[in-house]
Each structure stands twice: as C-alpha cells, then as structure tokens.
C-alpha cells in the first residue's frame, strides 16, 4: 500500500465537506427556485376560491369556504365558451403554419448546402433578437392596410412570423443531429426528397417537433398584447382578453375571485399539454446535447 502523507485524512475530510456543501447549496437553490415557481401558482389557485373581501383581508391564507361560484361567474362573464373556441382556432392555425413552415425551412437549412444558406439561417435567427413590442406598431399598420384587422388571420399570421425564428433555430440544430446515412439509404431505396423529409426525417424528429410545438403553443395561447390591439370584435377575442373582461365589466367593483378563477381556466390547457408531453419534452430538450 502506498505511503500516505499525514495530511491525507484531513485532506479527505475537507474534500468530503466540500462535496457535502456543494450538494447542500444545489439542494437549497432548487428548493428556492421551486418555491418561486410553485408559490404564485398556488396563490392564484387559492385566490380563485376566495371572495373578493377575503382576498384582501387574508391574502396568504387557505380559503375559508371554497367558492366554486367564482368559476361559474368567470365562465359566464368571460364568455369562456366563445373565447376558448377562438383561442383553439388561433392556436391550432398558428401551430400548423409555424411547424409546417418551420420544419421545412429548418430541414433545408440543416441539410442542403447552397449559396446563401448561412445568410438565410442568420436572417431567421436574427428575428429572435427583435423585441416583439417594437414591431407591433408597424405590423399593426401593415395588417390594417391588408384589411386583416379583426380577423383570425391577423393573429395567425403575426404569431407565425414571431415564432418562426425560434422554431427554425431549434429544429435546424435538431435535424443536424440526425445521421445523414438514413437519408442516403432512403434516396437509394427510391425516395424523393419530399418523401425522405416526410417519411424518414419528420418521424425521427418527433421529440424535437413536440418540444418546439409545446413552447410555441404556450406562447400563442397566452399572448395578450397583439390580440388587445388588433381584435375589437367580441366574437373573435381569445381567452387572455376574456380575463380582462371580468375586470372591465364590473368597473369599480371588480370580482377578484372570479378573475383569478378565469386565470386558472386559462392555465388548465397549458398544464394539460405540459403534463401530457412532459417526458417527451425533457427528452427533446436534452437530445441535441447528448446526441
């Protein structure tokens, strides 16, 4: 056995202590972060079951009596049926366009070497650096000139344009990780370029596509400002605007409980999507890193 210095055990002890400390620090950080995420959510959910006075008198407590009436009020005042339908139409339409266009653009940029490939890639990616609000005013005028204001299209087109950069950026790097031989094998097998894309590359990218879709869905589902400035027709408004309705309808006597209930109603689909695809989602996020 090799001779150890007398300081060996002290050294070992110090190392162990350092390891324990860093484990403890990591745990602490995770707990704090979890609190930051979970607490506001729980607070919203609790508040949605309280009466307005209760919210102000006992903001942190658990509701005395669970006010399910809040949800009924929210649903009717928010005009939830119509708004959910609108939100679904807009989200589905946007997602279809974003993912359809995004995957094709990303595939071509990832796989085909042509003049201008880099240019187009950076062109799309630079879109991520433009703050959305900055573009709203000119975009609004553009939509007005095109006669799109107060239509589903104004939302769908705008959301597509805004989410394409991120989508292309993510999917391009995802497609790059897929082995080239698969495409070549398919080409030798007799597949056209579109068949290769449709039958081989897309099914293989399922987890990546799903991840990006969920992110896009969250963004589109919750989007507020653009709907606010382009849609004035009650029949076309989406859920986030509906929540505002609760506040506006009552003017100075806002039904806070109902409003929180409205928020929870908006949150439910987001939750559902996340829980449904959670395992796929984490797989999609790590797949690029670990290959």
């Amino acid at each position: 056995m090799p001779k150890r210095s007398p300081l060996y055990s002290v050294q070992k002890g110090a190392e162990r202590l350092a390891a324990q400390m860093s484990w403890f620090a990591a745990q602490l950080m995770l707990w704090v972060f979890m609190g930051m995420v979970v607490f506001p959510m729980l607070w919203t959910i609790f508040a949605s079951f309280k009466t307005s006075p209760e919210i102000f008198n006992d903001p942190w407590g658990i509701p005395d009596v669970f006010q399910f009436q809040n949800y009924v009020t929210a649903w009717t005042k928010m005009n939830a049926g119509t708004y959910i339908l609108n939100s679904l139409i807009v989200s589905a339409g946007s997602l279809l366009l974003i993912m359809g266009l995004g995957s094709m653009i990303a595939y071509v940029l990832a796989r085909y070497d042509f003049r201008g490939n880099r240019f187009f890639f950076f062109f799309f990616v630079s879109g991520m650096m433009i703050p959305g609000y900055l573009a709203f005013i000119p975009a609004w005028f553009l939509h007005r000139s095109l006669g799109l204001l107060d239509t589903y299209w104004s939302l769908i087109i705008q959301y597509t344009a805004f989410n394409l950069p991120f989508t292309v950026f993510m999917l391009q790097s995802f497609f790059k990780t897929l082995p080239k031989e698969l495409e070549e094998a398919a080409v030798v097998d007799g597949a056209s370029l579109f068949t290769v894309f449709w039958k081989i590359m897309l099914p293989l990218s399922k987890s990546g596509l799903l991840t990006v879709s969920v992110f896009n869905f969250l963004g589109v589902w919750n989007e507020f400002t653009w709907v606010l400035i382009t849609i004035s027709d009650e029949k076309l408004k989406t859920l986030p605007l509906g929540a505002v309705n609760i506040m506006q309808q009552a003017k100075y006597a806002t039904d806070w409980g109902a409003m929180f209930a409205g928020f929870v109603i908006i949150l439910i689909p987001t939750f559902a999507v996340y829980i449904l695809f959670q395992s796929k989602l984490t797989e999609g996020i790590t797949v690029g890193a670990l290959k």
Partner: protein, 366 residues
C-alpha cells in the same frame, strides 16, 4: 445483373482529388472488392457509383447505360451502409419493404419478397421488431435484407462488417460469399480489411490516394504485386522490405542490404541485370523466411544471421520478429522452432519467392 464500368472517373472536393482517373470494368455477376487504407477514395468511388456523389469528370456505366446524370433511385442498385442506416422508427419488415412500397410493388409481392429474404438471412422471427431491439449482427442482416428484396442489378457494400466483432465478422464474411453465389448478381464491396478482400473477392482493386494501384485476382495480387504499396498492403503479416542495392560478384547477382547479402538464383537473375548498381527494395513474405532447422527441402535457401527480438506463438505457427543490423522483419516459422528471444540465430530466405522493386518508382521489377 449488369456490368459496371468506371471510365476515366475523377472526383474532386475542392483541391483534394479523392478519385483520380479511375478505370475499372466489373463483369456481370462478379464480386469486386475495392480495398485500400482509410481515406484512399474507395468509399467515394462507391458513392459515385450509387449516385450519392456527383463525379467531376469521366463516365460511370451500369450495363450499357451511362448513369452520370441518373438519380440514385433510377440506377437499379441497392446499398448496404457501414452504419446499416436502418430506419429506427420502422419495424424490420417495414425497413425491408420501404423501397418496394415506394416503387408501388403490389402488397402480396412485397410480402413474398420480404419473407423470402428473411428466410435466406434467418431473420424471419425478427420482422416485427424495431432496429434498436436487435443486436449488431441482426441489424447487419436486416440491412442486407433490405438490399436483397429490391432485386437490384448491382449490390453495393460499404464496409458492412466493420462494426461487428471479430468472430461475427468471419461468419458474416462467409454468408455474404454464399449470398453472392446464390443471387448471381454483381457485388461491389468496399473494405479496408485485406483479409475480407482476399477471402470474398473474385477480383480486387487496390486503391491508394485515389489512384488504382492494381486490379487482379486475389492470388495474383498476392503472388505478383505490381508495386511496393500493393505488396505491403496485401498479406498479413505484411511483406518484409529491405532497402539495398543490386551488385554483381563473381558472375553472381547479389542483393546487398548493407547488413547482409543474398544471392539471386541464376534462373531468376535475368530481369534484374539492367538494375545492377541501382537502389532497389528487396521484399520477402514472412512465410518465405524459415528457421534453418525446418527449411523445406528443394528450395533455394540463403542464410541470414539475425537476433530474435520477439516471438509470438500462434499455435499452428510462430511469428518471429527478427533484427539484422538496421533491419527488423518478421518470419512465420514452423511451430516446432526452438528459437527464443535474445538468441543469435540463422534463418533461411526462400529465394524462389522474393520481390524486387525499383526504389525510385516503387514499381516491381520483373
């Protein structure tokens, strides 16, 4: 079934010439192996034939048809990739049927062909599995099966065995040879492993730095290598080389390496007369260097004094790593040999089996 012709084919990637004026005629039903060190251009040549790379110059023919501008799917070829390239999301059956479905072959016919190929390869019970549920050897079979069902004119193999372990590789080697017998189709096979080339090919094309070095039957390549590269590449352990000069002494022709000199038998001296005084490289294969105690009768043996550096017992033979002055070389001797490490000894060069190359051009002198 078809012949394949490379006619003055060049493939350049920028300034790099990957395939340099390749001329090969592969006969119908032939099993041609392209062999060479990694990066020599053999895979590029195969990919050009498959249509996965465009050639820079020249012509490639399949049968009588020039296929330079024909897309891969219309070349009537099937290819087995080094990584197998099985579609991970499809079952074994669907992997094999993929190409046929795209070609709109009737369902019944697809089923018949897939089952037949699966029977040939012994993978009938794997048809419902996904590629990730298969072992390396099974994946390999599926990759071959996917090629078979297409019933192509030409089969292309790109180092299909290099991801398998040694034992499986030997078994699959025999199976691919059998498959060639059975299908009676043109096979073009790329490998860096000269043993694979020697055991399977009807003819071998040795390629180095994009240039075809020699195209011949395995036995001819082994017995009559055209140049130093082929001589060193084909055969394991590799041929021993000794730089030296040709010298005339008392009417006899000698190879003088500086450390030892061996006499060339008069019956074989004639081609070398013109090279007397010039720099040459003398080559002799390990099996033509014998322990003097076990020298076969009736050979022209020349004795050389050596020191034994390392011995490797193989059971049926012994590899001796020998030193003579500046030269180190290998002998493949009788297992009864008593030579041991560190020993000074004499070995016998079989002067009926040697090669001499011009040191400047590296071409064989014959």
């Amino acid at each position: 079934m078809a012949s394949v012709t490379f006619r003055n084919v060049y493939k350049r990637f920028g300034d790099v010439i990957a395939v340099n004026n390749l001329n090969i005629e592969v006969g119908d039903k032939e099993f041609l192996v392209l062999v060479g060190p990694s990066g020599c251009g053999k895979t590029t040549a195969l990919r050009c034939l498959a249509g996965l790379e465009e050639i820079s110059e020249g012509e490639i023919l399949i049968g009588d048809r020039v296929v330079n501008d024909v897309p891969p799917k219309d070349r009537d070829i099937a290819m087995v990739f080094q990584s197998y390239a099985l579609y991970p999301h499809l079952s074994v059956y669907d992997n094999m049927a993929f190409g046929l479905k795209l070609r709109k072959v009737p369902k019944e016919e697809i089923k018949r062909r897939v089952y037949e190929a699966a029977d040939i390869l012994g993978i009938r019970d794997l048809l419902d599995r996904k590629p990730r549920q298969l072992s390396g050897g099974q994946r390999q079979r599926v990759a071959v099966g996917r090629a078979i069902v297409r019933e192509p004119k030409v089969f292309l193999f790109d180092e299909p065995l290099s991801n398998l372990d040694a034992k499986l590789r030997v078994a699959m080697r025999a199976e691919i040879s059998k498959l060639h017998q059975r299908l009676q189709t043109t096979f073009i096979y790329v490998t860096h492993d000269q043993t694979e080339a020697m055991t399977m090919a009807t003819r071998i094309a040795v390629i180095n730095k994009g240039i075809l070095q020699q195209l011949d039957t395995p036995q001819n390549l082994y017995d009559k290598p055209n140049n130093l590269f082929v001589a060193g590449f084909i055969g394991s352990p590799a041929m021993n080389f000794f730089p030296g000069k040709l010298r005339k002494q008392d009417g006899k022709l000698l190879v003088d390496t500086g450390d030892f000199a061996v006499t060339i038998p008069p019956s074989r001296a004639q081609p070398y007369e013109a090279h007397v005084g010039k720099d040459i490289i003398f080559g002799i294969r390990p099996e033509n260097v014998h322990d003097v105690d076990f020298t076969p009768p009736n050979i022209d043996a020349e004795r050389v004094t050596v020191k034994v550096d390392v011995t490797e017992l193989m059971g049926n033979e012994i590899f001796l790593y020998l030193v003579s002055g500046r030269n180190t070389f290998v002998a493949r001797v009788d297992p009864r040999s008593k030579l041991r490490i560190g020993q000074e000894a004499q070995v016998a060069f079989d002067m009926d089996n040697f090669h001499i190359f011009d040191a400047a051009t590296e071409q064989a002198i014959r």
